[in-house]
């Protein structure tokens, strides 16, 4: 079920009043059933995989807390981590390893024809963080299976995050008897439509140009591939942050507060800052459970670079079982290591023009890495890079479809204006609390709805991050 579909609208219109009026255990049961329906809308039987990871980590965390000896705690931690990762390995990485094994010329093994369960990487990482936090003694193990199931399965964040931490979400789910205030609903409502605008009016429209250039890259000049690459940078941002806005908005309408997942990352002035603002729930996960566990920056410069590289390579691998994602992670690891070596984040630009140049620098570097993310093969990525640098041919630039291209420009202009003048300074709650804030937000939401009606891509395409 996609947030940008009419089916979800009907689903939520039925769910919300029931959720509003129920309390405590009944509310939890309703949330659990609704999350099952939401997940089973994709491939029903895969809900069993979800139950399996829930049971593994529920049991592991309980045992970790109950065990007295450190050795037993560690054994149960390993049990939780290995089994959860095993599920991820079987469904996501099995074929990748088989392909590489076959390519190496060893014994030929057949691939498995399995479809990746939607959102698997997200909910396994969420479960893993829970078990690790229980082991570290930062949170108590959840004894109520229903509450824990809702923590993993809660439908707004189930398929593409944000990867919530137990210390934020579990306390909210525990009693589940909170009152949904008017501010909760209103802020969530407006945020949902802002996310929908980003997805339908910017990401889905930009994807038309991106697909046209990338799917036909052999016949495109470098200039069009460059524009396609820049537009993909916008597309993936609006697709994923739009999804996050919708997820956070839906949760907020239900009275839950999720952590922020994006903070206008393309206004970053260095790559380090970019990764603090992009997919925050994943980058903080990688920082807390990989980078710091590897030693972080505690053991000298070389080891810091090594740790950064390992973390980013694994972060790339988390996205998908392909060398392209690993290379994408590696490129970002190199950027971060380079910046650390020259200590770029310490040089804060004073003047607008310098800030602007730094923002463009970050956008260009990040866009370059996106080529590997978007390309379907290494050969495609390298051909595109080669064409951009050696066959630019600016004179052969085409808009492809002037109507679509104008819509893209309009969408990006509105996005930039809103982010620069509004969301860089104020949160939705701050906007709501201003004088007549609710009415101003309502007027903007109506304007966004009309923009979607006039310009939005109405085909209801999937979110890019659903594949992860």
């Amino acid at each position: 079920m996609l947030f940008n579909s009419i089916v979800f609208l009907v689903f939520f219109c039925i769910f919300f009043p029931l959720f509003y009026f129920l309390n405590g255990k009944n509310r939890k049961i309703l949330l659990f059933i609704a999350s099952c329906i939401f997940y089973m809308w994709f491939i029903p039987v895969y809900v069993l995989i979800l139950f399996l990871t829930i049971l593994i980590d529920y049991y592991a965390a309980k045992k970790i807390e109950d065990d007295i000896s450190q050795k037993a705690k560690k054994a149960h931690l390993l049990f939780g981590i290995i089994n959860t990762c095993l599920v991820l390995f079987i469904f996501k990485y099995h074929n990748f390893f088989i392909d590489n094994f076959n390519a190496a010329g060893f014994h030929q093994i057949d691939n498995w024809e399995i479809i990746l369960p939607i959102g698997l990487s997200f909910h396994t990482f969420q479960s893993l963080s829970y078990v690790i936090e229980v082991y570290r003694g930062n949170i108590k193990a959840e004894r109520d299976l229903l509450t824990y199931s809702n923590f993993v399965m809660m439908f707004p964040q189930l398929v593409a995050g944000p990867i919530e931490r137990a210390n934020n979400l579990l306390p909210q789910l525990k009693k589940c008897d909170h009152t949904i205030t008017y501010q909760d609903f209103s802020v969530g409502f407006h945020r949902f439509f802002w996310g929908l605008f980003k997805k339908v009016m910017v990401a889905d429209i930009a994807s038309i140009y991106v697909d046209a250039t990338y799917n036909n890259y052999q016949h495109q000049p470098g200039c069009m591939l460059l524009v396609g690459t820049f537009l993909f940078a916008i597309q993936i941002y609006c697709d994923f942050s739009g999804y996050s806005d919708m997820a956070i908005g839906i949760a907020r309408m239900m009275g839950f507060r999720f952590k922020e997942n994006f903070r206008i990352p393309y206004f970053s002035k260095d790559i380090t800052e970019f990764w603090r603002r992009w997919h925050i729930s994943l980058s903080s996960w990688l920082r807390d459970y990989l980078y710091i566990s590897f030693g972080g920056s505690r053991y000298g410069k070389l080891k810091t670079y090594r740790n950064l590289m390992f973390t980013m390579l694994l972060g790339g691998f988390w996205h998908g079982a392909s060398w392209n994602f690993i290379i994408w992670g590696g490129i970002n690891g190199l950027y971060l290591s380079f910046e650390k070596a020259i200590n770029l984040p310490a040089f804060k630009p004073k003047y607008f023009i310098m800030k602007f140049i730094r923002v463009i620098y970050v956008f260009c570097l990040i866009s370059f890495s996106w080529i590997f993310f978007r390309a379907i093969s290494f050969e495609q990525a390298t051909t595109i890079i080669k064409k951009i640098f050696t066959q630019f041919n600016a004179g052969s630039f085409q808009f492809l479809d002037i109507n679509v291209f104008s819509s893209i420009i309009l969408g990006i202009s509105i996005l930039l204006a809103a982010e620069y003048f509004v969301f860089r300074k104020y949160s939705f709650d701050e906007l709501f609390q201003r004088k007549k804030g609710d009415w101003v937000l309502s007027a903007f939401t109506l304007a966004f709805i009309f923009l979607i009606l006039f310009f939005g891509n109405s085909t209801g395409s999937q979110f890019i991050y659903f594949q992860f």
Binding site: N403, D438, L446
Partner: protein, 317 residues
């Protein structure tokens, strides 16, 4: 809850009222005066200024860019209009367009329908939205269109269409652009010749002869519907299978299937250019803009060939 419900109610009310006002105002003041473009403007032009057109060319971009009505001198002296449309000009679109035009008293004496066996006929998915959405601005004008949308578009689309501004989804900029050049249109016959020459490097056949194609039931129904509408309104229907460079889109089983379907429905006037192996006139790459579209020079040659074939058919008749 009371406050939440009243907020939703107020927003919905404002949304509905504003939607109706914007859609009505836009339709009356801009859209109905837009007489060119593929977002309904060329259909407006046909309805408002080409009521007496003797023949109509219908089809996809390969009709629009290949057949120049002014060169079809053997068909009512070339008094025709090319209503082909880029991208979405499949059979469903043309079936509905024909019904819309007839309801608006645009009844040509002849329809020249371009039909592709590939890809318009063989798409496995039956997503009809891109084809019918091109005609959304005319929903209020055609009962047949309205009924078809309600029967086939699906629940989600019907909900979206409750908002009238959605009829102009993806079309606004195109309409505004064409609206501003409405006065520059004089006697337009719809044909648009393409410029440029095909780069043959790396060309691969698109149609795969070995693949088992599934033919869309809904598109076959649309073809039958066109034949039926023409018969009921005394319109001569001729079908053209268009050429493609090096037979890139040639799909013999597909064309055989279409021919048999047409013959079953009483349509025998078929001009088959799908296989260009015996047609050396069309084989030079300088006549093609890309592998599936001829440039203006190619279109001129192709239109002349079609004109000759129609003359021969007229003689037989």
């Amino acid at each position: 809850m009371k406050k939440i419900i009243s907020k939703i109610a107020i927003i919905l009310l404002i949304l509905l009222i504003t939607d109706r006002v914007i859609a009505w105002f836009f339709s009356k003041t801009v859209f109905s005066h837009t007489l060119s473009g593929e977002s309904g403007g060329s259909v407006n032009y046909l309805i408002q200024q080409k009521k007496n057109t003797a023949f109509l060319i219908m089809g996809s971009s390969r009709a629009k860019h290949h057949i120049n009505p002014s060169l079809l001198t053997n068909v009512y002296g070339g008094n025709g209009f090319n209503a082909g449309i880029n991208g979405t000009g499949g059979l469903i679109y043309n079936s509905l367009l024909l019904q819309l035009l007839i309801s608006k008293n645009v009844v040509p004496k002849m329809v020249i329908l371009q039909v592709d066996a590939y890809p318009y006929f063989t798409l496995e998915e039956e997503n009809i939205i891109p084809e019918i959405s091109a005609l959304y601005p005319f929903i209020g004008d055609s009962k047949a269109l309205n009924d078809y949308i309600h029967a086939h578009a699906g629940f989600a689309e019907r909900i979206k269409l409750l908002l009238h501004t959605y009829r102009f989804n993806g079309k606004l900029l195109n309409i505004l652009y064409n609206y501003t050049k409405r006065n520059t249109i004089k006697n337009n016959q719809g044909f648009e010749g393409l410029t440029g020459i095909l780069d043959t490097v790396g060309l691969q056949p698109i149609a795969d002869l070995n693949r088992k194609h599934t033919y869309s039931r809904i598109k076959m129904d649309a073809l039958v519907s066109i034949a039926k509408t023409c018969k009921e309104n005394n319109i001569r229907l001729a079908v053209v299978y268009p050429p493609a460079y090096r037979n890139m889109l040639y799909l013999q089983p597909g064309y055989e299937m279409i021919s048999s379907l047409l013959q079953k429905n009483g349509v025998t006037e078929i001009y088959d250019f799908a296989n260009i192996d015996p047609l050396p006139e069309l084989q030079s790459e300088i006549l093609w803009k890309d592998a599936t579209h001829m440039n203006n020079d190619g279109a001129t040659i192709f239109s002349a060939m079609l004109n000759n074939d129609i003359r021969a058919a007229n003689a037989v008749k």
